[in-house]
Subunit: 77 residues, 6 copies
């Protein structure tokens, strides 16, 4: 289905840990939405995985996505 793939059915997760995994997935899907070529994405991967400034910037995105997920799940209380 390519770009029409449904990958986000719900923001609800069973555990906080799964919420983290969803946050990472959301961050990755944003990048894939802009750089749509999977080959180029693969070749770029080393660029940020060994650049600490970019790793920290990625962690910033994950932190924001997780805020949304955690609130949606009422903090798994």
């Amino acid at each position: 289905m390519g770009n029409n793939e449904i990958w986000l059915e719900s923001l609800i997760t069973k555990t906080p840990q799964e919420g983290r995994e969803l946050a990472i997935k959301m961050a990755r899907k944003s990048i894939a939405a802009i750089q749509t070529n999977p080959e180029i994405r693969k070749s770029l991967r080393n660029d940020y995985a060994s650049d600490t400034a970019q790793l920290i910037a990625s962690a910033n995105v994950i932190a924001i996505e997780f805020q949304t997920i955690a609130l949606a799940n009422n903090y798994w209380k």
Copy 2:
């Protein structure tokens, strides 16, 4: 209608996935509001689509826009 085009009728979407798509659209429209020349935007596109730091910065914008959309939709509960 050019710059007067109405592109944001509502923050309400049917699904979380559509909420993601709206977040990406909002981020893109912000850039179009500043760089109003579509030819220049097109020529700039390669600059950020193959620069991981800029891809991550774009994902940061999408994450913030999605926070707003998710809250507006009461997390699609």
Copy 3:
């Protein structure tokens, strides 16, 4: 009136689209508050309008301002 100009009477807008326009205005007014010389601002405009990293950073500011406006308007529900 110069710097004493009143440009923000209210956060309430009729539509989401007008909310976006206000968010862009708020971002611009912040920059004008720091760089108060309109001639210099004009000369700087090309610097960021053709630099994708700065366009994305601008979109980040607009996303944050819009969060505030959208909440003030109860998401135009």
Copy 4:
């Protein structure tokens, strides 16, 4: 009184416009808290006032501070 000066008595302002002014003041005071030498701050001022990337980063700070102020004032409704 120097560093002990009380500059933030309240987050409440009469108008949204005054809320913007307080947001700018808060951003400036943060910088003054880290770079405590007013002479150095003055000499640094040109660095960011003519650097668009830094102007945009400053606008990002103002947007976050304003979120706090706007919520504190219940959006001046």
Copy 5:
């Protein structure tokens, strides 16, 4: 268990200080999720620990994670 290790059982902590520690842990785990090789992470550590721009960017991530944790704990009131 490697990548399947459960490290986030709950967002609830006994004290604000423990909330800070959890925020730091969350930021670190995000980086570990992207750069999965612990040897490379170790070698990268000096890059950001002595680069003030990256230390500040790390503090930004911690501040966002802590917002989520503090709200989940109702500010430990």
Copy 6:
């Protein structure tokens, strides 16, 4: 006590001004948690105190921490 020092007993402060001071302390403690050597931190201090981009990035962190503190204190109303 070193790293086990308790420095955050509560998010509650008597005044908004004290809330600002706590926000600055929280930002500093994040940096200290990553760069644990106080001698190196001292030597790095000049790096960011005279670099406007880093001063602005620091103000961004303080703004986020203050959001959390202000909400915890119900905006000192």
